[in-house]
Each structure stands twice: as C-alpha cells, then as structure tokens.
Symmetry: C2
Subunit: 204 residues, 2 copies
Amino acid sequence: MFSTIHNEQDQLSKQILNAASELYLKYGFKKVTMDDISKTIGKSRTSIYYYYKNREEVFQAVLSSLVQEVAAEIGNAMDEQKTIEEKIRAFCLTKITTSESKKPFFTAVEAGMNAEEKSRHSRVMEVVHQHLMDGEKIILTKALSESSSKKEIRLLTQEEQDTVIFILQSSIRGIKREMILKNSFDDLNTTVDVLTSMTIKWLE
Amino acid sequence: MFSTIHNEQDQLSKQILNAASELYLKYGFKKVTMDDISKTIGKSRTSIYYYYKNREEVFQAVLSSLVQEVAAEIGNAMDEQKTIEEKIRAFCLTKITTSESKKPFFTAVEAGMNAEEKSRHSRVMEVVHQHLMDGEKIILTKALSESSSKKEIRLLTQEEQDTVIFILQSSIRGIKREMILKNSFDDLNTTVDVLTSMTIKWLE
C-alpha cells in the first residue's frame, strides 16, 4: 500500500516536471508561474507546493531530470557497443548529438531574461553542467574498468583514468563549440574517429 | 629613401595601435575616441585617419596585431623545442597561458557595453578567433610536416593532418574552459602530458 502511494506521488512529481518543461519551451522560464503549472496538470497549487517550495525548485528539478536523461542516453548508447573503442566513439557522438537536441529547450528557457537574470541563469547552468560531467565520469569509469579487467586495455592509475576521462569530456565539448562556430558538423565522424583512435592507442 | 618613409609610417601606425590598446585597457573600447588616441600620441587626428577610417578600424587593427602576437608566442615556444612531442606540449601550454594573459585586456575592452554592443563585439571576436585558429594551423602544419620528413612520425594524409590539428586546437580550448569553470589549473601539466602522449602515439 505504501508503495502505491509512493508511485502516485512519483507520478504527480513527473507530471509537474513534464508540464513545467513544456511551459518553459513555450514561454521561457521567466513567464511560467506555479499557477500555470497547476492549471496545466489540473491539480491544486497546494499539491505542487508539496513537492516544490517555489518556481526555482521546479526549474532545478526539470534541469536535474534533463541531466539524468542525457546521461542515460549516453550510457545506453555505450552499453549497446562491445569494444572499448566502440564505446568511446559512442560516448563522443552521443554527447554531441543529445546536447545539440536539447538546445532549443535552453534557448526557449532563456527567452525574455534580462542581463542580471541571464547571469544568475548561467551560474545555474554551470552547476547543471558539473552534474552532467559527474554523471558521464561514472559511466566512463565503469567502461574503462570493465575493459581493463578484460585485458582489452592496460591497467590505469587513478590519475591516468581521471585525466583521460577529463580530456575526452572537455575535448568533445571544445570540438562541438568549434563546429557550432563553423556552422558545420560535416567533419564530425572523421574527427570523432581520430579522437577515439588517439585515445585507444594511449590506452593500449 | 622610400624605405625610410615606409618605416616612419609603420612606426606611427604602431604608435596608434599601442596607444589605442592602452586606452581600451583603461576605459574600454566604447569610451575611446579618435580624439583620445590623437591626444595620447600627440599627433593630429588627420594623421590617424590616414591609417584608419574610423574607431572600428583602429579596434580591428589592435585585435589583428594581438592575434599575430599570440600566434608568434606559440610559434616561438614551439621553435625552442626539438622533438615533435615537445613541440606539441609547448603548443598546448602556450596556447593556454598566452590566451589567459590576454584576458584582462578583453574584460576591459567590453566594459560598459550594452547587450547589443556585446553581441556585435562577440561576432568580431569570432572572426578574431578564426584568425588565430588559422595562424595556429599554419604553425602546426609546419611542425608536423618537418617531423614527418625527419621520419619522426608517419606520413599523414591531408585529412589526417587537418583533423589532428583541429582536435588539438579545440581540445585545448575545451580543457581551458573546463579549468576556468573549476577555477583550477592544478592539473594543467598532467592533462597536457596525456593529451600530448595520445597525439604522439597516434602520429607514430
């Protein structure tokens, strides 16, 4: 019985986040009130306040679930692959494609923000970014450890493992940024292939 | 005689850029007029207009000379090294340290800009960035070609060469950004060592 209540609560909490997400996409974060969310899901404001103290908390929760979604997509894409080489390539490609697919959401969210709000928002985004980095690190650590137990790659020290993961994460972000500036993702596959191959040669 | 005149002109042109640079650093681009520059170097405004049509042109010229300076610093640091491994490491480290050293200039330049001016300025900065990327590419291409003629590394196809150069450039930029976010450059040497080693293993 407790688990039923718990499930219903989870359901409502998800409903709130989905509704908020869609409203942000349409009107931007700035314009969406707790009242808008309660009207959209047809529940009282009190029931929303039971989960989230204020609109900022709803927003944080939407961002957290988005991070989990992106990390899960990356993790799934890697799990579908067998060798560490394929897993690293999948990591790079999925990291770029999923983050690009979330872009319209973030553009919409920022609609109508003034300079001060944007600066506060960019600090929130830094935290979101750090959470994604942490999530990705867990996934990559698991893939590298499994691969080294299978003797597919050499045994890495903690520092080596942390460094190669950090390089992969930041390189891909740097590559994505340059491709956005050049407004062309034509060389994406070639670039990811070479980055993967560089990494594998170093891991072997 | 012609060359003397030419030298004097070069001198004045440099004086204008140096004066403008210092004024931007003190007051930001927005507040610096052609009049300020002429007063600082003690020459008539006409003599400045002989070189630069308007304040935007002075600004562009200051930025161009800055790009040349950064590219030269990177090139010199690489020239001081013998092996391609040392040259790549020098490229990575100098790219981060010189661009960080120019940061106070760019922060100062943007002082007092409103949203519209900032957006125009960021387009100018994209062009500046592209020029630096082009300059670095020339330097790295030279280093790789020399190294492969010495049989230190294998012979690369044009595509391989372009790709590895692009990866180095964007990775270092991505790594720098992450370190700025984390507000720590403690792992810089370890990170650059691994990135260099990955690159060398792929080039061998």
